[in-house]
Amino acid sequence: MGSRFDRRILPWLLLAPALLVVFGLVVYPVGRTVWLSFRAAGLPYLASGQSRFVGLDNYRDLLTNAHLREVFLTTAGFGFACVAATMAAGLAVALLLDQRFKGRALLGVLVLLPWAVPRVAAGTVWRWMFDDQYGLVNWTLSHLGHDFAGFSWFNDRWPAFIAVGVVVVWQSFPFVALSLLAGLQSIPPEVKEAARIDGAGPLQMLRHVTLPMLRPLLLTLVVVSTIWDFKIFDQVYVMTGGGPYRSTELVAITVWREAFARLHLGTAAALAVALFAVLLVMTIGYGRLARDEVPGGRGVSPRQRRREPLGPGGRGVSPRQRRREPLGTAR
């Protein structure tokens, strides 16, 4: 059935535009950035493409330049802190949504909302909530008995990072919570029942039954969150602009500033490549871990895990498609 054209040529014609996009807009730029990271390039490069090979100098800068080194450490510290807070908040909310109470479905939808907000809008709104004079946060904290009246969150490094961190967690806990809820709901009731008969209290249940069964899923979510939180740009740009005195710069912000404000294109490229490499290593490491995990079968089976979290809508997804969701461990 089907002509020779249909079998041999048509598939490639159909793929051609997508391949063009992928090679032109992804593969080529990545390769070019790697190339640029070995070169000294400034304004002349943007103007007429002039640059000079400098070997590993740009990478050496990353290690020797105090600011760049600090940016990396800051990004890692801030990123992991956000991941920890997101996981804690997500797990708590998932456990809450796993209880029976009135308004559970509504809470499921409300919790979803922060995730839907564009990052720039989230940064903007929270920037206003954290306003020193008229902000809701200072007002609330003052009412709770702490004197935060007029406290400037953005004049100092640590408070500024706390404010940005709150936004990051606010936007990323819904995804973690709903994924974990789906995991919780897929734990067979018999398992919990058996543990209960053996006299396990709620905390023991969490520690010895629930968390071990969710392990593969938790691992996945930690990796996804880490990838997101290491790339943060928008929220920082809107809330602090990297200030005061570049003290809240994260890698993505620094890459952008080095490239487009200071025109140190080689340095910027090396920074970007280093960030990419770190994320790549973490992802591959995760892939290994996940693969080792599967045959033991300690976790919930991938099929069970795919049960839907509660929430609105959900029409139009066929059971087949739902099954393909590669949430969780690698295949």
């Binding site: 992804v26 909302l113 720039v120 008229y134 740009y237 490229a269 960030l275 990419f276 066929s318």
Partner: protein, 275 residues
């Protein structure tokens, strides 16, 4: 199981705290946008307003937000149409033909989700400058295809795979070509999948900030997020106006998001992890 009364109280207290944390910023955003200035800039913020005013919305639109809204709509729509067209063809090919590239598709999707956009930005800037695409809608659309296409291909391929092969085979035995069968039989059946993919692409393009900030310098070509961030950066920030702008920027995307969030979860997780 019955709960003790103390546990019930604790449970509902937790529910209220979580709900407030999730929703308070929305409420505050909207409330600020309709409060009179005197109530906004007050040491004791009021949690309600007796005299709502919606005039700020038209003021903000007149102050340049209408142009930004137009730019965002054009760029997001352009990205959606171009991306879905490209991805539908590729997704079909990957779903129906035995193509060696299949194995690399997931890798590609994963890679694009994983790496930071700053890795692409310098070469894209240089190429666009050379092609005269800086400060243009087309330039942004092209740049956005870099991150919407791989995921769209992935979503559509899995959708096409749910449609039985027999349908095209029947059409082809009635004399249709493979291409004709694809366009007239399969694409219409894939309506929901195409719609979900389109919404996903639209949201991604609507929200994008980094490329929009870098590739467009002319004020009259700015998209919404860039216009909004410029508002915030001003010395005497007019928070009422900024919040009105934020509402207009956020609402459409929240509605879209609620319609497709499940599929989006799929894509993101697919994109970010599986090895």
């Amino acid at each position: 199981m019955k709960r003790r009364p103390a546990a019930t109280v604790a449970l509902y207290a937790a529910v209220v705290v979580v709900a407030l944390f999730a929703v308070a910023p929305f409420a505050w955003m909207f409330l600020t946008s309709i409060k009179p200035d005197g109530e906004i800039f007050s040491r004791t913020p009021s949690l309600w307003t007796g005299s709502p005013q919606f005039g700020r919305y038209t003021d903000v639109l007149d102050a340049g937000f209408a142009t930004a809204l137009r730019n965002s709509l054009i760029v997001a729509t352009g990205t959606t149409v171009a991306g879905v067209a490209v991805a539908a063809l590729a997704g079909y090919a990957l779903a129906r033909f035995d193509i060696p590239l299949r194995r690399y598709l997931l890798l590609m999707v994963m890679g694009v989700q994983m790496f930071p956009l700053v890795v692409l930005i310098i070469p894209l800037f240089v190429v666009m400058k050379a092609l005269g695409l800086l400060d243009s809608w087309v330039g942004l659309v092209v740049a956005y295809l870099s991150f919407t296409t791989p995921l769209a291909v992935w979503l559509l391929r899995s959708f096409f795979e749910t449609i039985p092969k027999e349908l095209e085979e029947a059409a082809m035995s009635d004399g249709a070509t493979r291409f004709g069968a694809m366009v007239r039989v399969i694409f219409p059946l894939a309506g929901p999948g195409l719609a979900a993919t389109a919404i996903f692409s639209f949201i991604a393009a609507w929200n994008e900030f980094l490329f929009a900030l870098t590739f467009v310098k002319k004020e009259n070509l700015r998209t919404l997020p860039v216009a909004l961030s410029a508002f915030v950066g001003q010395e005497q920030a007019d928070w009422g106006a900024i919040m009105a702008g934020s509402v207009m920027f956020t609402i459409p995307v929240v509605i879209f998001f609620l319609a497709v969030h499940r599929r989006l979860t799929t894509g993101m997780v697919a994109g970010s992890v599986t090895g």
